[in-house]
Symmetry: C2
Subunit: 330 residues, 2 copies
Amino acid sequence: MEKPYLLFLGDAADQLAAKTATGIADWRPEWCVGQMRLPGCQADTGLADVSIAEAASRGARTLVIGVVNSGGVMPASWSDSIAEALAAGLDVASGLHSRLESFPAIRQAAERHDRKLFDLRHGERTFGTAKGIRRSGKRLLTVGTDCSCGKKYTALAIERAMRERGMAADFRATGQTGLFIAERGVAIDAVVADFISGAAEWLSPDNAADHWDVIEGQGSLFHAAFAGVSLGLLHGSQPDALVLCHEPTRRHMRGLPEAPIPDLDDCIRQNLTHARLTNPDCRMLGVSINTAALSPTEADAYLAETEARLGLPCLDPMTGDPGRFLDQLA
Amino acid sequence: MEKPYLLFLGDAADQLAAKTATGIADWRPEWCVGQMRLPGCQADTGLADVSIAEAASRGARTLVIGVVNSGGVMPASWSDSIAEALAAGLDVASGLHSRLESFPAIRQAAERHDRKLFDLRHGERTFGTAKGIRRSGKRLLTVGTDCSCGKKYTALAIERAMRERGMAADFRATGQTGLFIAERGVAIDAVVADFISGAAEWLSPDNAADHWDVIEGQGSLFHAAFAGVSLGLLHGSQPDALVLCHEPTRRHMRGLPEAPIPDLDDCIRQNLTHARLTNPDCRMLGVSINTAALSPTEADAYLAETEARLGLPCLDPMTGDPGRFLDQLA
């Protein structure tokens, strides 16, 4: 995929719906010429709003679909924008479940203008079933009380903190946004179910004894739709260390209005129990709190109370020091 | 798929490797004209050994690949037999991960002889993510300490026992062998990982209040390769009742020589904990023991000791009365 990118936010209904765009803008702003939004868009990456023509004139090479579409249906307004980008000479990249080429208008526009379509979620790679054999090197996995609560940002912040301490560390992407940021990895939720753990084993292979893979978690053991992916990733990762991620203002599990958010204690216990099936020495290093929706005073109080109650470091890695998680490794 | 079938066992290395053939022969013998084995085959369904020519003369319409191939590679000896069956006028059906048409010799033979290839594991159906909303009707799911320990046979025996009691009950297949037996269902391990629970919800939809779906379990929460599938199926099934299946002579988890078999207690507790995320009233009805590898005396002693220790009915549904599980529902 050629850089720089124009991030397409479409008519995203809320900030979370545009989390791919937001993730790229936050972690790789130097790769982006701006964002493009349609009327009604409720999300904002903070980058400059530019049209496709402006983006092309600034050198943009690829339009990145940075928003999820519900149920795999491509709205006509998106399709028109994508076709316009192809006509303007940009390639188009997507992390949606639906392949870009499955939409006739997009496929035809790409052929007409001789541009490339990238579907990051659909690799050509196939995987074997997991072997369950311990691998050399160290692994840290972020796990969550829910979907979309900070597992990727926490993993990226921990990779950065490890490198600042001179540790050998690599972020390992497991979702579409992570794949855009790391430019490698596997969309673990798009793998055939029999091979979830096998794909996780492939993602973090044998390595030097002091090397850390920092693996992006997915979903939650407590999410009725996605826990299978979470458990397969947990087993295949064989983590030496976990960090639990939590968004404290969430009132129910994402997409499931009847489902309560699990207790942090329960979440820690369940994740450790399952992790120890493949790595009996696995430990919980702390809790990463996404405090974006709290005032600074509320955030401080929440972090202090939670840390005192759990007896583990609790911090927001975007405002606090994720190195405190690493102190637990000493 | 047209009946009757010729069951192909290939050069199966052991009885478990031919579990699709064995399952069809045990539960639908009236659909089979016999079995076909290659030199070195270590499995036996008990059906008559017949050649392809003999099977064709007895009216066989479909050759069923009843054995798993390791790693998706089709041995040349299998490919030759399959091509011979196509030339003799039979269709060919398979539940392997690899599609029959992906093997050029097989695809070409099917085209040449105008025969059909069926890949049961690969439905054309796509699924949504799980909704987590409670459905009407009742559901029983078989779960296991390991893979290949009796979950399908237990579910089929319970469906039969329910019907003998005049209860409305349907076996719901989740694996290739179950699909051959039930002629419907979903190969849950072949679904894209994001949709495991969604597919399980589709499999056992709303039904009459007193109707039971008896759902075939897959894998084990304690199997490092397949637990993700097991958990997604458990959540999506929203079971009112579980039956735990166990093979008491197993010394390690299937395919993982280093991994011990979990305690029955642990297995009961973990399965109930996770099941209650989507059905808080879920109960464990008892333990189904596959005693095929024990002498009758050993079997009796094992069942009595386990039943006394766990305080739940423990029986082999192929030799004992699975109705004892149903007594727990009263």
